[in-house]
C-alpha cells in the first residue's frame, strides 16, 4: 500500500475555510505545550489573553488597523505570486513621507488641506517603494523576495536617521523623535486611540474584493498569478500589470504607515517599524488571500498582540507569547494548504503507475 498526492481538478472551497481555523487551534495547542512546560496553566493564560484583548478593545483595534491595511496590500501582491515582503519598509516610508508634510508644509498650505496632503504623499511614498522592486521584477526579472526585503532595511535606517538626526525635536529632552505634528495634520479619532484608518481599511477591503472578483483587471491579475502562460495567450500585459498591482499594494501599506504616524504617534519616532509588515503576511495568508477575510484575521492577530501585553501585566508572563502564537499559526496552515490543491490517495500494493489527474 502506498500514499500518493493527487492534484485536484479545482481548489476545494471547504478546505480553504477549514484549514485556517484548524491551524489556529493547532497553534493554540502547540502554545499550550510551551506554557505547560513553563508551569503555566494554558487555559488560564488563554482566558486572560482573550479577556485582556477584549477589555482593551480600542487598543486591539488600533493594532488591527495597520495589520488590515498592510494585509490588504500584501494580498494584492501575493495574488499575483509576487512575494512582496517589503510591507514593513512601505509602511515606514509612508509614515516618513506623511511626517514630512505634517512637519514642514504647514506654513505653505491652507490648514484643511494639510491632512489630506500628508495622507496622499504617504500613499505615494509607499507606492514608489513597492514600485521599484516591481519594475525590477517585471522588466529585468530580478527576484522580488530579496529586493523587497533589502529595501525594508533601507527605509527603517532612513527613518531612524531622520528622527535621530536632522528631524530630531530640539525640545525633546534628548529623546529620539521629531517635533509633534501640528493638530491640523492629526487624523481624527473615533474612540480611544482608534482613528479613521479603520474606516479606510474596511472600505478598502470591500473595494479590493470587488476589484479582484468582479472586474476585468482583477481577473487579469488572478490569471497572471495562477498561470502566466495562459495569461500570455490571453494577451494580458504581464509586466505592466505587475507594476500597477504593486503600486497599489505599496500604496495601501504606505497609507497604513501614514495613518499610524498621523493618527496614533503624532510625530515621527520609533514605533513605525514594529513588525506589522511581517505580521501582515501572516494575515494575508491566513485570510487565504481573500480581502473580505483580512479584517477579521487582522483583528485576531491584533488580539494576540494585545492579549500578550495584558498577560504580561496580569500574569507576569512574557508578552512574546502572543508573537509565538502568531509565528506558530502558519506552519499547520502551510501544511494544510496542500489539501486544498491535492488530495491524498491510497494505492493498493501491486498497482503499477499512478494515473495522471
Amino acid at each position: 500500500m502506498q500514499l500518493v498526492f493527487e492534484k485536484r481538478a479545482a481548489f476545494s472551497r471547504q478546505t480553504q475555510v477549514l484549514v485556517p481555523i484548524v491551524s489556529f487551534v493547532v497553534s493554540l495547542l502547540l502554545g499550550a505545550i510551551l506554557l505547560l512546560a513553563s508551569n503555566v496553566n494554558p487555559l488560564t493564560a488563554y482566558a486572560a489573553m482573550a479577556t485582556g484583548a477584549l477589555r482593551a478593545w480600542t487598543e486591539t483595534l488600533v493594532k488591527a488597523i495597520p495589520l488590515m491595511l498592510a494585509g490588504l496590500g500584501v494580498t494584492i501582491a501575493f495574488k499575483m505570486q509576487f512575494w512582496n515582503i517589503g510591507a514593513e519598509g512601505q509602511i515606514v516610508l509612508g509614515g516618513v513621507a506623511a511626517a514630512w508634510v505634517a512637519l514642514f508644509w504647514a506654513n505653505g498650505l491652507p490648514a484643511w488641506t494639510l491632512l489630506p496632503t500628508a495622507l496622499l504623499v504617504g500613499i505615494l511614498a509607499g507606492a514608489l517603494w513597492a514600485g521599484l522592486p516591481a519594475v525590477l521584477k517585471a522588466y529585468f526579472k530580478v527576484d522580488e523576495t530579496l529586493t523587497t526585503l533589502m529595501l525594508n532595511y533601507v527605509a527603517i535606517l532612513f527613518a531612524q536617521h531622520l528622527y535621530y538626526g536632522p528631524w530630531r525635536d530640539p525640545k525633546g529632552y534628548g529623546f529620539p523623535g521629531s517635533a509633534p505634528f501640528p493638530e491640523a495634520a492629526w487624523l481624527p479619532r473615533l474612540a480611544g486611540r482608534v482613528h479613521y484608518g479603520l474606516i479606510f481599511a474596511l472600505i478598502l477591503a470591500f473595494v479590493l474584493w470587488f476589484v479582484l472578483q468582479r472586474t476585468r483587471w482583477g481577473f487579469e491579475l488572478r490569471i497572471i498569478g495562477e498561470n502566466q502562460t495562459a495569461a500570455r495567450y490571453l494577451g494580458i500585459e504581464i509586466a505592466r500589470n505587475i507594476v500597477l498591482a504593486l503600486l497599489l499594494s505599496g500604496a495601501i501599506s504606505g497609507l497604513a504607515g501614514a495613518c499610524e504616524a498621523l493618527g496614533v504617534l503624532h510625530r515621527l519616532q520609533h514605533g513605525l517599524a514594529l513588525g506589522y509588515g511581517y505580521t501582515a503576511i501572516i494575515v494575508a495568508w491566513m485570510a487565504q488571500l481573500n480581502p473580505l477575510a483580512v479584517p477579521f484575521v487582522a483583528l485576531l492577530m491584533a488580539g494576540l498582540l494585545v492579549g500578550g501585553d495584558q498577560v504580561q501585566l496580569s500574569m507576569r508572563l512574557p508578552a512574546a507569547v502572543g508573537v509565538v502564537l502568531q509565528g506558530l499559526v502558519l506552519f499547520p496552515l502551510l501544511a494544510g494548504n496542500l489539501f486544498t490543491e491535492y488530495r491524498l490517495r491510497v494505492i493498493r500494493s501491486g498497482s503499477a503507475r499512478v494515473k495522471e489527474a
Binding site: 529585468f140 526585503l149 533589502m150 533601507v154 535606517l157 511581517y278 509565528g327 506552519f331 502551510l334 501544511a335
Partner: protein, 317 residues
C-alpha cells in the same frame, strides 16, 4: 595606525564569524533548491539556547551542541513544511523567523534565575575567550587572524572545506544537480527529498552555531533582539557570494568591517551619519542582484540554483 588596522581586522573577524557560519549554511540549503528565510529566527533561538545552556551547565561545548541542534530542528520543520508538504517556501521561512524570535524572547524571560525574575538578560555566563596562537599573534596586522576564539579558527577550515565539498566531490555534484534540476537529478537516481532535507538541516545547524557565537563570544550574554537583523544580512550575503561557499568570507568581512569601522567612527564622534553606512550593504545587495540577473552570461557562470524556491513533486508533470 597599524595597531588601529590590526584591531579593526580582529573585530571584523569576530563580528563576521556568525555571519560566515550562517552564510555557508544557507548556501548549502539554497543550492539544494530550498530558500530558507528563517535564518534570523534560527540564529536568535540558537543564540538564546546556547547562552541558557552555558549559563545553567557551565559547559561551552554543550552550549554549542544544543545551539546546533536547535537550529537543525527548526530547519527540519521548514524542510517538512516545504519539501514534504509543499508549502510556500517564502512564507514558511518567515514563519520560522517569527516563531524563532518570538520563542527566544519568551524563553529569555523564563529561563533566567528566580532572583532575576526569570530573566536571562543581564546575567553573566561563561565566555568563549580568544586563544592567541603565539608567536603568530604578535605579527603586525595579520596577527589579528591568530588572536581569535576556537569557533573563528574552525571557520578558517569550514570555508575551504565547504568549497571543496561542493565543487570537488560526488556528493557536492549531486547537491548542485538537485538545486538546478530536481527532475533530472531524480532520474539519475538521486533522492531529491533526502538531499533537500539533509542540506536544509545542515544549514540550520550552522546557523544555530553562528547564533551561539554571538551570545558566547562576540557579545557575551543574552539581550533581547541580539541578532539585530544579522539573519537577513545573511540572505544578502548568499547573493553576494553568488552561492559559492568559498566566497562567503568576503561579504561577511565587509559587513563585519562596516560594523567595526562604524564602532570606531562613533567613538571618534564623526559626522558621517551611521545610517548611510549601515544602509550601503543592503543597497549594494540590490545592485548586485540586478547585475547578476541582467547579465545572462554571468547568470550562466555563477547564477542562483535554477530550482531555488520551487517544490518538487514526482507526480506533477
Amino acid at each position: 595606525m597599524l595597531d588601529l588596522l590590526t584591531s579593526i581586522l580582529a573585530i571584523t573577524l569576530r563580528a563576521g564569524t556568525s555571519l560566515v557560519y550562517a552564510t555557508v549554511g544557507e548556501i548549502y540549503t539554497e543550492r539544494s533548491g530550498v530558500l530558507n528565510l528563517g535564518i534570523e529566527g534560527m540564529m536568535m533561538l540558537g543564540a538564546l539556547s546556547a547562552f541558557a545552556v552555558a549559563y545553567h551547565t557551565g559547559s561551552l561545548l554543550l552550549a554549542f551542541l544544543i545551539a546546533g541542534l536547535v537550529g537543525g530542528l527548526m530547519a527540519a520543520l521548514h524542510a517538512f513544511i516545504t519539501v514534504t508538504m509543499r508549502g510556500n517556501q517564502v512564507v514558511s521561512g518567515l514563519s520560522v523567523t517569527l516563531a524563532g524570535t518570538g520563542l527566544a524572547s519568551y524563553l529569555g524571560q523564563r529561563l533566567g534565575p528566580a532572583s532575576n525574575n526569570y530573566y536571562l538578560a543581564g546575567m553573566v555566563g561563561p565566555k568563549l575567550l580568544p586563544l592567541a596562537i603565539r608567536p603568530l599573534a604578535d605579527w603586525p596586522l595579520l596577527g589579528a587572524l591568530f588572536n581569535q576564539d576556537v569557533i573563528t579558527y574552525l571557520m578558517y577550515l569550514l570555508v575551504p572545506l565547504a568549497w571543496f565539498y561542493m565543487y570537488k566531490t560526488r556528493a557536492g555534484l549531486n547537491l548542485r544537480a538537485v538545486g538546478e534540476n530536481p527532475r533530472t537529478a531524480d532520474a539519475m537516481g538521486i533522492d531529491v527529498t533526502r538531499v533537500r532535507y539533509g542540506y536544509t538541516i545542515l544549514g540550520g545547524i550552522l546557523t544555530g552555531l553562528g547564533g551561539a557565537h554571538l551570545t558566547l563570544a562576540y557579545t557575551p550574554g543574552w539581550a533581547e533582539n541580539i541578532t539585530g537583523g544579522r539573519g537577513w544580512i545573511v540572505i544578502a550575503l548568499v547573493i553576494f557570494a553568488m552561492w559559492n561557499p568559498g566566497r562567503s568570507i568576503w561579504g561577511a568581512l565587509i559587513f563585519g568591517g562596516i560594523n567595526a569601522i562604524q564602532f570606531r567612527l562613533q567613538a571618534a564622534g564623526t559626522v558621517i551619519p551611521a545610517a548611510f553606512l549601515n544602509m550601503s550593504p543592503y543597497l549594494v545587495t540590490v545592485l548586485m542582484l540586478v547585475i547578476i540577473t541582467v547579465s545572462s552570461t554571468a547568470r550562466h557562470q555563477i547564477g542562483a540554483p535554477a530550482a531555488l524556491g520551487k517544490a518538487y513533486m514526482r507526480e506533477d508533470k
